[in-house]
């Protein structure tokens, strides 16, 4: 099983500012996934991050709003840019498990005021 460290675990941010979320995995993985979970809702995939190439964004998510870095096979960051209260959510990073399923980080609970 993979151990994923995600930080910060929570933050309260002013609108108009940006927050960068970090995700560290204890093993090398090809793909890392970033999800958003709005309050009381399900998980929605934001983008898939591959090392050495640009992230692939899902419909409704754009690079200018959610820039992603993937400098190596164990680390990725997601930035939530120019935040508004609508960005208040839980953001989760995830990796695939070798035998099926996915592991998730502990999540970042973001509140924008």
């Amino acid at each position: 099983s993979a151990v994923i460290s995600q930080k910060p675990s929570r933050d309260i941010c002013q609108r108009g500012t940006s927050l960068t979320i970090q995700c560290q995995v204890d093993s090398q993985v090809t793909m890392m996934f970033w999800y958003r979970q709005q309050p009381g809702q399900s998980l929605t995939l934001i983008a898939t991050a591959n090392q050495g190439s640009e992230a692939t964004y899902e419909s409704g998510f754009v690079i200018d709003k959610f820039p992603i870095s993937r400098p190596n096979l164990t680390f990725s960051t997601l930035t939530v840019s120019n935040m508004s209260p609508e960005d208040s959510s839980i953001y989760l990073c995830s990796v695939e498990a070798a035998l099926g399923g996915a592991f998730f980080g502990q999540g970042t609970r973001l509140t924008v005021v």
């Binding site: 793909m31 996934f33 809702q41 399900s42 998980l43 929605t44 995939l45 898939t48 692939t56 899902e58 419909s59 989760l92 498990a97 099926g100 399923g101 996915a102 592991f103 998730f104 980080g105 502990q106 999540g107």
Partner: protein, 112 residues
């Protein structure tokens, strides 16, 4: 895009009662996964089903994948307070790259 419908949205039971959540897709799925998210926690992988008609058990939890691979269910027998949380099904979709599409989740609360 591909959608996975999950019902019910909420379920409240007395401790000791059974609980079932259902997941449906309009298209055939290659596999279905189930996750549990405790209040304030992150999703935790429970199981993956890949074969038509597959049934898997984990203690009091029984997972089924339909014969047509378009539906799945999770059944908990004799619920305990530790079962509280939201249960999500998720389908692995291949659209150039594989990705997980989650159902809406069923939030289970239990009266002790």
């Amino acid at each position: 895009g591909q959608q996975v419908m999950q019902i019910p949205q909420y379920q409240h039971v007395q401790e000791g009662e059974d609980f079932t959540t259902y997941c449906n897709s309009s298209t055939t799925l290659s596999n279905i996964q189930w996750y549990k998210q405790r209040p304030g926690g992150h999703p935790v992988f429970l199981i993956q089903l890949v074969k038509s008609g597959e049934v898997k058990k984990q203690k009091r939890l029984t997972f089924q994948f339909g014969e047509a691979k378009k539906n799945s269910s999770l059944h908990i027998t004799a619920t305990q307070t530790t079962d509280v949380g939201t249960y999500f099904c998720a389908a692995l979709i291949d659209q150039g790259a594989q990705k997980l599409v989650f159902g809406q989740g069923t939030r289970l609360t239990i009266n002790p």
